[in-house]
């Protein structure tokens, strides 16, 4: 099971643009690598990432083998009200990894 790690600021002012960070532990096997016994290691990647706030899409990405192992993404969101950011990763093997983080918006 892949481990996920996120960063959501605990507090923000209304209208502030905040940085969000997300990482998942994953080999992101390219399919081009050859193991010690000379066999091709099959491709195995996380294909999709999405971040939403209370059901509204904030940012998403379609990943390829050209993304380094343990895919890291940082991006932004406009903080408008208190609520929860949800982060989802979709593995090519069908697994979905999710994590959520709350923010309190003042003023």
């Amino acid at each position: 099971m892949a481990q996920t790690r996120i960063h959501v600021p605990a507090r923000a002012a209304a209208g502030e643009i905040v940085e969000l960070r997300a990482m998942v532990s994953h080999p992101m096997e390219t399919g081009f690598r050859i193991d010690e016994s000379g066999n091709n290691v099959p491709m195995h990647i996380v294909t999709d990432f999405a971040c939403s706030f209370e059901g509204e899409e904030i940012f998403r990405a379609r990943l390829q083998p050209g993304i380094a192992a343990n895919p890291y993404l940082s991006f932004y969101a406009r903080a408008t009200r208190s609520g929860t950011f949800r982060f989802d990763w979709v593995d090519a093997d069908g697994s979905v990894y999710s994590q959520s983080g709350a923010i309190i918006v003042e003023g």
């Binding site: 643009i17 905040v18 390219t30 081009f32 690598r33 050859i34 706030f53 509204e56 899409e57 904030i58 940012f59 998403r60 990405a61 379609r62 990943l63 390829q64 083998p65 050209g66 993304i67 380094a68 192992a69 895919p71 890291y72 993404l73 940082s74 991006f75 932004y76 969101a77 406009r78 408008t80």
Partner: protein
């Protein structure tokens, strides 16, 4: 002769490099056809020299107000010399607030990295940067073989 040809086919680094460029071109044509594109609005932050191609920090920021009427819809990154040149497609909404993201990418040797930004008005913008990579992300034998390092 057949033996020599087979041997040459085995030493495929230059041929592979050409194939990669063709693939990058095909990806871009397939995605955008011959839609007009303008240079600018995109800032690419990628090291000029990377010790290893396994994990190279990349930051992209597109100049946009990110309003409902005027925002960046998508950013696509293409690394010309990678065996699969398309690296990432990042999608934004007005709720993103800022059209920028960071990640870490793999680079198979020295190359040009191309970035495309599609705006909500349908306009297409592009920018590019060159990067030198001491040790490529694709390990031996097939890709780095034949490179004099």
């Amino acid at each position: 002769m057949a033996g020599a040809a087979a041997l040459l086919a085995g030493v495929a680094a230059p041929r592979l490099a050409l194939a990669d460029k063709a693939t990058a071109g095909a990806v871009i044509r397939g995605e955008f056809g011959d839609r007009p594109r303008q240079r600018g609005r995109i800032a690419i932050d990628l090291p000029k020299l990377a010790e290893t191609g396994n994990s190279v920090p990349l930051k992209i920021a597109v100049d946009s107000p990110m309003t409902d009427a005027d925002h960046v819809r998508r950013v696509m990154v293409v690394a010309e010399e990678n065996p699969r040149p398309r690296v990432i497609d990042a999608y934004f909404t007005p709720a993103s607030g800022r059209a920028a993201f960071s990640t870490r990418i793999r680079l198979n040797g020295d190359q040009r990295v191309l970035v495309f930004a599609e705006m909500s008005d349908g306009s297409l913008w592009t920018e590019e940067t060159e990067v030198r990579v001491t040790v490529g992300a694709c390990e031996p034998p097939m890709i780095t073989f034949g490179r004099s390092r």
